[in-house]
Structures are given as structure tokens and as C-alpha cells.
């Protein structure tokens, strides 16, 4: 009996998006109802899928063609976890959007669901070319969302964002082609098998392919020096969209973890060693660059963007080792940074909304309406981002530092993670006291009631509460990520689930 | 390819058409190079080239008919299409050229290399 639920996270958003296209453009309400309902359903399904994933990896042969010949969609703990994160953020984003953002341009909800489709598809697929396809889906949807709302700035950074990602996509195709050219397959599990059996004379080409892929994923997750696009693109993006983007960067991290625990695992052609040599310094630099960006940011959006960069650095610094503990910690931190990233972007938008032309710039000019609520939320977001207890950032950092204990890079990693903590702290304190204190919150005492803003605030609050829950239930969550990491490191499980036939190139 | 069991007359016809086609194509392009004025050059491709392709197409038709025994008549379609479009294309090129002779409004010709 095939488990069709596995494909639903892809099919549901697709059909929703199309349905939205058929709805008359005037009927805003019906669009919102459909959109929110669909995301809710998706969230529920993701939870269910997480449950199903507990029985180990399961493959779903799209088109009923056996792997490796058709495309398989694979549900395992990792993909289920990512789906959970995605749908949670999506829910927050869409709830925020229906407060008004979705009216600022055509097709917001359609694009939103298409992007969701792309993200889910990328998390689920077990085929490397199909991964490329879904990368493109989520990218082109994100272009649309970056441009949602229009404006010179958006257009220009949108173009840069698109161009950079198109270059990356080209490199992706070179890599996929190369891998097919030497292994003759596209199915990831089959690739894993064939890569392991590859004659030494092909190893050089294999390494090139792997490294090209690494560049692509590095661009996606804004690893220094490929992080350029992120701050401006995110600063330009429509707030609910950028909230969803918090997951977007994670797709790159997901891809790195997936490829290097499945296809290039077992140090095939010395690739995972090389990966570590590259990733550790790069991630460290990324973290530092992010922290410096936070300290030097001139607007809250810049602050949020660079703290996203910083958290990517932390995440990858943790993941680089590819040990069970490290991956588990990285995954926990990933969940944390999804939640808090989304929260921060929405919050910044909310603040900017209330400050007129000063918007989100770090100037003491315009006071913030509802300074107490927004200031409090910003305070909490800052705590979480910096890694102050008791929110999930702290737990994540402890887990990461614990996981790195005793590795070759422990000293560097510890120094960087803790050192940047100070920079982030100072950066957030500067920003917060400028915007919420210095900018005469005296005015905000007599608050002009904005019910919309209050509702939006609730969404942000919910996300922050999410990080609190994440740390309150830290034990359970870390158990889940431990199980996920363990499953990842035993790649035979995945291979057996996907392609019993794909055990040898002659199959 | 199996021209062996092909009726020699047909074979001759096909070969002749091929040679003629090739020749006309060559002449058309030669005109493009040789003639000094754009409008003069225009005469080459529009006529010779078109006829050149036309004869190649007919050659192919005959070839499939006699060598393969399959009635491959769809080459006619291309021929029809080419003869419909070639003069129009030529006409537009000519119009564009006339326009371009007014140097001022020329967006491309007066560019620095």
C-alpha cells in the first residue's frame, strides 16, 4: 500500500496556488481563506509525516517507476523535520500577510504557495536533477515575492538576486551533468552506491562535481563570500516573504547535509574531508561577517539580514564535522534560527510600518508606536539571536559547543561562536536602545491604537513563544534531532528504502 | 542509405537537383558577399537561396519516393512556406534598409566599434 501522504506537501500547495489563480482578483477574503486553510492543512500533514518518519525512511516512486529509473520522493526524519519547520514558518508568514501585505501586488498568495511547493519539493526529493528543478521553482517564486510591492530598490536588488541565483543554477547543472556523465545515474541513493564503487580514475571528476555542488549550496545558504545577495534581497523582500526566506537559506544547508551524509559519505574520493577543510573556515568567517554586519547595520532590516547570515555561519560551523552530535546540534539550531529569523523580519516590518519615512533605519527620529509591545518583542528576539538564555538560542549554542568539544576545530569554533556573541549583543543593544528608547518612546505612551499592528504583533509573539517552547522542550527536541542525525549517518537505511535494485551499476 | 537499387533516372534527377540546389545556395551567399550595395545583395538570398533549398527539398522528396518507396510529400510544405515567406522577409529587409539610409535615426550603424 503506497503512502500517498508523502507527496501531498508538494501537490497541495500546487493545487492551492492554481485554485487561487481561478478566484476573482477582487475577492480578497476568499483568497485569504483558501490560502490560510491550505497552510494549516499542510502544517497538520507535516506533523503526521513526522510521525510516519519514525518508522525509518520510506520512498514514494512518482509515476510508479522503480528507482533509480523514475523519480523517487523520500520521507525520512530529516525531510520531515524540514517540512515541519517550513510549514510552521509558512503559517506565521501567511497569517502576517493577510493583515495587509497580500494586497500590495498581484498574486501574493499564489506565489507564496508556489514557493512553499518548491521548498517542500526540495526537502522531499531523492533525485538530484529533481532537486535542481525544485530549487528553480522556489527561486523563481521568491523572485516574485522579493518584487512584491514594487519599487526601485526592490527591482534592482531583485535583479541582482535573480542574476546571482541564475549563475548558481548554471553551476548546479554543470555539476549534475558531470555526476551523470561519470556515474550514469541521478537517483541520490543510486549515486551513493555508484560513487562508492567508482574507479579511482574518475575520482578527480567526481571531486569537481562535488565541489561545484558545494558552491551552489553555499550560494543558497549565503556562505561567505557568497552571502552578498542575502542582505539586499531580504531587505527588499516583502516581509511575509522574507519570513519564509528564513527557511529558504536552510534549503542550502539541508542540501549540504543531505549530499554529504548520503552521496559523498564514507569519505568517497576524500570529499567529506575536503568539505570540512572548506566549510569550517568559511562558516567561521560567515559568522564573523554576520556579527560585524549586525554591529555595523544602519537599519533593522540589515540587522535582521546579517543576523541571519551569522546564524547560518553558526549552523554550518556546527554541521561541518558531520558527526552525530554536531548534526543534531546543527539541526536544533536550524529550527531555532528559522523561528527567530522569521520573527525578527516580521517584527522589523511592523516597526518600520509605524515610523513613517524613517521606517526601520537606526535613527532616533521617529518614535515607535506600541513601543512597549514591539520593544519587548525585539528584546526577546535579540536575546534569542544572541544566544541569551533561556530562549532556544542559548540551548542551541550549548548543544553546538558541546558537540564541537574535542574536535580538531573546537578551539576555533568556540572562540568564534562566543566572541561573535559579544558583537551580536552590542549590535542588538545599540539598535534596540536607539529605536525603542532614544526615539522618544515618550510619544508612544499615548498609544495610537492600531488593531492591525496588534494582530501582527501576536504573530511575532507566537514565533517568539515558539523559540521558548523549543528550549522548554529542548530535551524532546534534541532527542528528535539525535534520532535524525543517527538515521542520516546510517545511510544504508536510506539506500535500502529507496532502491533495492540500485545496489550495483549493472542493475 | 541505399541508392543501389534505385532507378537510374530517378537517381540522376535527385543528384542533379542536389547539385543545382547546392550551386544556387552558394551563388546566393556569394552575391551576399560580392555585391556592393545592400539592396543589390538582397537579390541574392531571396531568389537563389530560396530556389536552392527548394530544389534540395524536391530532391529529398524524390529520393524518399524512389529509394525508400515512402511517399514523403511533406517537403512540399516547407517549400510552400519558404515561397510564402521569402518575399515578405525581403520586403521588410528592404524597408528597414530604406529607413536606415536616413543616417540620423539609425540606432546601430553609427556606433563606435
Amino acid at each position: 500500500m503506497v503512502n500517498h501522504w508523502i507527496i501531498v506537501p508538494v501537490v497541495l500547495p500546487a493545487l492551492t496556488a492554481v485554485l487561487l489563480l481561478f478566484l476573482p482578483r477582487e475577492s480578497v477574503v476568499s483568497r485569504r481563506v483558501v490560502s490560510v486553510a491550505s497552510v494549516l492543512a499542510l502544517a497538520g500533514i507535516s506533523v503526521a509525516l513526522w510521525g510516519m518518519a519514525q518508522q525509518g525512511p520510506q520512498a514514494y516512486a512518482v509515476g510508479d517507476w522503480p528507482a533509480p529509473f523514475g523519480i523517487v520522493v523520500v520521507l525520512d526524519r530529516l525531510s520531515a523535520l524540514m517540512l515541519l519547520a517550513a510549514s510552521a514558518i509558512a503559517l506565521a508568514a501567511v497569517l502576517y500577510a493577510i493583515i495587509g501585505w497580500d494586497r500590495r501586488g498581484a498574486h501574493f498568495h499564489t506565489l507564496f504557495h508556489f514557493q512553499l511547493l518548491g521548498i517542500n519539493g526540495a526537502f522531499l526529493t531523492g533525485d538530484i536533477f529533481n532537486l535542481f528543478v525544485f530549487f528553480e521553482v522556489l527561486l523563481i517564486a521568491s523572485y516574485g515575492l522579493v518584487l512584491h510591492g514594487g519599487g526601485a530598490w526592490r527591482l534592482k536588488s531583485g535583479f541582482q538576486y535573480a542574476a546571482v541565483n541564475l549563475i548558481a543554477s548554471t553551476i548546479f547543472l554543470f555539476a549534475v551533468g558531470l555526476l551523470y556523465g561519470i556515474t550514469g545515474t541521478l537517483n541520490m541513493a543510486d549515486l551513493a552506491v555508484r560513487v562508492a564503487a567508482l574507479p579511482a580514475q574518475d575520482h578527480a571528476l567526481l571531486r569537481v562535481g562535488a565541489l561545484l555542488l558545494f558552491v551552489v549550496f553555499a550560494v543558497k545558504c549565503a556562505l561567505v563570500p557568497f552571502h552578498w545577495w542575502l542582505p539586499s534581497a531580504y531587505s527588499a523582500g516583502a516581509a511575509p516573504a522574507t519570513a519564509l526566506f528564513a527557511v529558504l537559506t536552510k534549503v542550502g544547508a539541508y542540501a549540504i547535509i543531505r549530499m554529504h551524509t548520503l552521496v559523498f559519505a564514507g569519505d568517497a574520493a576524500g570529499i567529506s574531508g575536503t568539505l570540512q577543510d572548506l566549510l569550517v573556515p568559511a562558516a567561521a568567517v560567515t559568522l564573523v561577517a554576520g556579527a560585524i554586519g549586525v554591529l555595523g547595520s544602519r537599519s533593522m532590516l540589515q540587522l535582521a539580514s546579517y543576523s541571519t547570515v551569522a546564524s547560518m555561519g553558526t549552523l554550518l560551523l556546527a554541521a561541518a564535522g558531520l558527526g552525530a552530535e554536531q548534526i543534531s546540534a546543527a539541526l536544533y539550531y536550524l529550527l531555532h534560527s528559522c523561528l527567530i529569523g522569521a520573527a525578527l523580519f516580521l517584527l522589523v516590518d511592523l516597526v518600520a510600518a509605524g515610523r513613517g519615512r524613517v521606517a526601520d533605519r537606526l535613527l532616533p527620529e521617529a518614535p515607535v508606536p506600541q513601543a512597549l509591545m514591539l520593544g519587548g518583542l525585539f528584546f526577546l528576539c535579540g536575546m534569542a539571536m544572541v544566544g541569551m538564555p533561556p530562549l532556544s538560542g542559548f540551548v542551541g549554542k550549548v548543544a553546538i559547543l558541546d558537540g564541537l568539544r574535542g574536535t580538531d576545530d573546537a578551539v576555533l569554533a568556540w572562540a568564534v561562536i562566543l566572541g561573535t556573541g559579544v558583537l551580536l549583543l552590542v549590535g542588538f543593544v545599540r539598535a534596540g536602545s536607539t529605536v525603542f528608547w532614544k526615539a522618544g518612546s515618550a510619544v508612544s505612551r499615548s498609544d495610537t491604537a492600531r488593531p492591525a499592528a496588534r494582530r501582527a504583533g501576536l504573530v511575532v509573539a507566537a514565533l517568539v513563544a515558539g523559540t521558548a517552547v523549543l528550549s522548554a522542550l529542548g530535551g524532546a527536541v534534541l532527542e528528535a534531532t539525535d534520532a535524525t542525525a543517527a538515521e542520516l549517518l546510517d545511510r544504508e537505511l536510506y539506500i535500502r528504502a529507496v532502491a533495492p535494485a540500485a545496489s550495483s551499476p549493472e542493475s | 542509405m541505399s541508392p543501389g537499387e534505385m532507378n537510374p533516372l530517378a537517381e540522376l534527377a535527385v543528384s542533379a537537383l542536389l547539385v543545382a540546389g547546392g550551386t544556387f545556395l552558394l551563388i546566393g551567399s556569394y552575391a551576399l558577399v560580392k555585391l556592393p550595395d545592400t539592396l543589390q545583395r538582397l537579390h541574392g538570398p531571396t531568389k537563389s537561396t530560396t530556389l536552392g533549398v527548394g530544389s534540395v527539398l524536391i530532391a529529398s522528396m524524390l529520393y524518399f519516393l524512389f529509394a525508400e518507396g515512402t511517399t514523403s510529400i511533406h517537403e512540399l510544405l516547407i517549400t510552400l512556406f519558404l515561397f510564402l515567406t521569402a518575399p515578405v522577409a525581403a520586403n521588410l529587409v528592404a524597408k528597414a534598409h530604406m529607413r536606415n539610409r536616413a543616417p540620423k535615426s539609425n540606432p546601430t550603424d553609427q556606433l563606435p566599434g
Partner: protein, 89 residues
């Protein structure tokens, strides 16, 4: 005999293509280059049909037809751009 004839035709088309290429390079005007492009397309059609004969396959027929269509539309578009600026005016 057909073998030789088609070989000749190939050679002729190749030569024609090179001549056209020359015109494409030296121009001088945009119009001349458009004309060269148009001619290249037609040469391409000839090559395709010839290949169909040599390989005795009808599979490339649509390609030839599409080349004819596309070549025409491309030429028209470029010319109209030169004449009017707006291709779809």
C-alpha cells in the same frame, strides 16, 4: 552518384555558410547582418534536409520546417525593430 551529389551539396552549403558568415562579420549595417542571419537560417534548412537524405530519416523534417518559420519571424522582428522600434507596435 547521390553520395557524391550530396557530398557536393554539403560542401557548397558549407562554403555558402562561410560566405554568409563573412557578411555577418563585416556588416557594415545592421540590415546586412540581418540579411546574413536570414541566409544562415536558410542554409541551415538545406543542411537539415540534406542530412535527412544522407541518413534517410524523416525525423528531422519538423526541424527544417521550424527553422523556416523561426528564421522568417526572426528576420521580420529585427527589421521591424529597425523600422519602428516597437516590434509589436
Amino acid at each position: 552518384m547521390i553520395a557524391y551529389a550530396s557530398a557536393f551539396a554539403f560542401a557548397a552549403v558549407s562554403a555558402a555558410t562561410l560566405l554568409t558568415l563573412w557578411r555577418l562579420v563585416v556588416g557594415p549595417g545592421a540590415v546586412d547582418r540581418i540579411l546574413a542571419l536570414d541566409t544562415l537560417a536558410i542554409n541551415a534548412i538545406a543542411v537539415i534536409v540534406l542530412a535527412g537524405i544522407v541518413w534517410t530519416t524523416p525525423l528531422y523534417f519538423e526541424a527544417a520546417m521550424l527553422f523556416a518559420m523561426v528564421g522568417f519571424l526572426t528576420t521580420v522582428a529585427f527589421c521591424k525593430y529597425l523600422m519602428r522600434g516597437n516590434v509589436m507596435e
